[in-house]
Amino acid sequence: MAEAHPVGFQWVMEAKARGAKVIHVDPRFTRTSALADTFVPLRVGTDIAFLGGIINYVLSNELDFREYVVAYTNAATIVSDQYVDTDDLDGLFSGFDPETRTYDAESWQYATQEKDGGDRQDHETQRETASGMQHETHGMSVDDDVLRDETLQHPNCVYQVLKRHFSRYTPEVVAQTCGVSEEQFLEVCEAWTQNSTRDRTTALVYSVGWTQHSVGVQYIRTGAILQLLLGNMGRPGGGIMALRGHASIQGSTDIPTLFNLLPGYLPMPNAADHQSLEQWIDATRNPGAKGFWSKADAYSISMLKAWWGEHATADNDYCFDYLPRITGDHGTYRTVLDMIDGKVKGYFLLGQNPAVGSAHGKAQRLGMANLDWLVVRDLFEIESATFWKDSPEVATGEIVPEECRTEVFLLPAASHVEKEGTFTQTHRMLQWREKAVEPPGDCRSELWFFFHLGRMIRERLAGSTDERDRPLLELTWDYPLLGETQDPDAEAVLKEINGYDVATGRPLSTFTEMETDGSTAGGCWIYTGVMKDGVNQAARRKPGRDQDWVAAEWGWTWPANRRTLYNRASADPEGRPWSERKAYVWWDEEQQRWAGHDVPDFEVTKPPSYRPDPGVDGIDGIAGDDPFIMQGDGKGGLYVPQGLLDGPLPTHYEPVESPFRNPIYGQQANPTRKEYPRQDNRMNPSPPEHGSEVFPYVFTTSRLTEHHTAGGMSRYVARLAELQPEMFIEVSPELAGERGLENGGWCHVVTARAAIEARVLVTERMTPLRVEGRTVHQVWLPYHWGTGGLVTGDSANDLLGISLDPNVLIQESKVGTCDVLPGRRPTGRAVLDLVTTYQERAGILGDRTVPIVTTGPGAAGDDEGDPTGGGGGAS
């Protein structure tokens, strides 16, 4: 955090100065470790085992915040007796189909819900469409007749299921798996639990490298389970903080430039399942379900109304059929492989540099070299614009400029001070930026580019009677244009995003004003309120020193300017603060409404004593003491029967590339992960397969303070280039000795995809760890460099293959295996020969595919696994 989010880290230091204990868990000693009270080095890719061990410590010592857990989580809910855990199936959950590598989740449901409580779509479809991302806010659909045992004694209540599941993660197993000493592990357990009480809360902070694993979603789930058990969610000083790495990456998820989402986490319609407006809305609304998603019809119809205006009527289902349909995986990695296969004609890159920043750099560049045309919009001449003349593939002869057909347009972009608009930062806060100056020369904003591109396309299609052109011709595409360059008025766009009353144009104040009859329009329902009272709330700048610590009058936070989500949980079931010290939101008996320091995340006049009648759905179905109002039962999900494709509970799997056999189960790595087995995407073998010894070391990557991701905004900036001028690799003195590496000298790193070189930094910041009785060396690389800019170097992301988390289709790019050799890498074609030699030695040349299912009937030969564990078919 000190390294990549230094100014945010001031608040950690402030807390430390007031007595907080700071623990840093990381494979490498960083600037954060230097300021922490305790630094715990950990083997990369073992976070579930580490956190699972803490959960086991909590449950076996009954250190959970019992009153919170019983009232606010699903700990008491009874799970189906058909559910079989990984403990009994050698690393698989019940319902696994080894053919499709997906689960039938029927047995994961709550007792009595097996038939009707399951997901609407099968898991194969859900994996293809990254539906976990849609579930980001949908929550679970839960009927109100679920069975509960509030004593938590029923053998199949979630609490007991959890207790059995995590019982394997003992301090010894954690030590063996993670390379962390039992003493240090227990120190973390004690600190975390002792600081999580009525009077104290503990915060868990992660950076989004956590998502870049084949089990990334389950990493975060493990953190969520722990924080729920300890009563740290929805309370001040608690929570799980995702530190995101781009100025508006939160905004670009809320208003998604993502294939499977529409604004406000509405799903992109799927051709097979969403053939009508009603089917599409019901996919989010889950008729009969409780919680705020019951109003999904108003959010969805208002969005269609914002896009197609007067043309969107009840008679034509508000132009629902104008939306294109998805039919499977259309994610960025699938698309890049399709480029290599010649299926994509044109590609836009908007302030993004995949030649350096995406996994498997060679695949990215070869894909771009096989297009009809490419439009790059950026501040600088980045590598993704120049791949045809100076990429590593030009040096190897894989791209020959005279033979590369891609037509490239490099259009200069306006910088953040040359346009106005909002960023949404990592705390969901929108902040408006004023325009300081006009952009120079041909530089233009994305708002300008896309507005005018749309205008020109519509001019070309004007008069067309072709049905396919109607969505474009009838699109609301009329914004006031400002100044000499005719930039669209960003505030007018923000007003459309906010939503308005169609008849009067009055901006809506809250999404509860949205209607289902087409009388309201609004582009992104969760942003409704940002133009409350016609005032740009994101531009509010009342100085922090003139406000309380919540600072609610600086910017605007979705939803409804609420700064802490689910803050109803900061009060006890009766609505009283858990303690005076941690008072945040509470029920004011006199006023008969919720009050406090923040906007209450609850219906403001619903008393804690409110109980819904049986069968009541929607918002009214949420009881007065159910704080998690987006979930179908109003409760935090310790166990998740729906929405996850790799299991209702997190379980330790090895990274896809690992030098170790999974010490806990026969199943080696995530069995449901998304793979693209192709000869241009070979993965290094892992146990139980032979060949893993060819790549004996573990590598991980991350950022330096002085650079930004793929370097497009830092390697071209003189000050920053000077501060960190060269690509390097950090290795321990022990590994340097083993491989003959010299501090300041050169080395090269080899995987099945690439060989890259870097300067060697020998440092004790990298610690060799004892895992499964032997030493593992981990190496660390920053991933900022490429062939362009003031300082150049090889790209660490070239080392990676493409293997994805099944829930959200994000790649495993924070861990892989490699070899490290002294000296510079070969150049020209010789570097390809070197990689081929390694592929040959590892036995992965040709058609050999590495088995993914490593336990149960039909699994690959494995002497260590338990072949009797079963694992096929629904039970």
Binding site: H5, V7, L243, H246, S248, I249, S252, I255, P256, T257, L262, M268, A271, Y322, P324, T327, G331, D338, K345, G346, F348, L350, Q352, W373, D378, L379, F380, P401, E402, F409, L411, H416, V417, K419, G421, T422, F423, M429, R433, V437, P440, E446, L453, G454, R460, P488, A490, V493, I497, R541, G544, R545, A551, W554, T705, E706, H708, V717, L720, V808
Partner: protein
């Protein structure tokens, strides 16, 4: 002579009230004659740092329509005036001589960049989008379901852009039937 000696900074520090030498003792005529460029700016725009997602407040100082300084905004409850090395370098980011300010064009099989007018580039891109859309249009998928889309057009980017920009990008691409629209959040 004594008067001259008393003017020495070290003597002013030792004999005067500013023992630490961080205030009046360290000042000179030159100091007094210097004005911070932030004080003579024509205007100050309230902005936000463009790098990571912490969202630190920035003040952008403008004189003669040029950015002359970018500093942390002390009013911001997020950052309290602080900026990290990247945020502090953002004036250098926006004024860098390496900034691309002219459209560059590489024709198929070309070995060098060429110049191209922005207007011409926009017309060419619009032509190509319309053509790629027509050439790869699908009304139905192989199971006969309505899909009305064009798989020949893809886009990547958005995490560094404004919400308003992402909104128009998604809206336009969706209306034209382009669905392979992605950004850093998938990466």
């Amino acid at each position: 002579m004594a008067k001259v000696n008393l003017g020495w900074p070290v003597l002013r520090q030792l004999l005067g009230s500013d023992v630490l030498g961080r205030g009046v003792a360290a000042r000179s005529k030159q100091t007094d004659a210097t004005t911070a460029r932030t004080e003579t700016a024509d205007r100050v725009a309230k902005s936000v740092c463009p790098y990571c997602a912490v969202g630190c407040g920035q003040q952008v100082f403008v004189k003669d329509e040029q950015v002359i300084q970018i500093e942390g905004d002390p009013d911001s409850p997020v950052s309290r005036g602080r900026l990290c090395p990247k945020g502090s370098a953002s004036k250098n980011l926006v004024t860098s001589e390496l900034r691309q300010t002219k459209v560059r064009y590489r024709r198929p099989f070309g070995t060098e960049w060429e110049d191209l007018d922005l207007d011409v580039a926009m017309e060419m891109i619009a032509d190509r989008v319309v053509k790629a859309r027509n050439d790869t249009w699908q009304d139905l998928d192989d199971q006969g379901h309505k899909v009305r889309r064009a798989m020949g057009i893809a886009s990547l980017g958005g995490a560094t852009l404004d919400n308003e920009e992402n909104y128009l990008i998604k809206k336009l691409f969706t209306a034209m039937g382009a669905i392979q629209i992605e950004n850093q959040a998938r990466i």
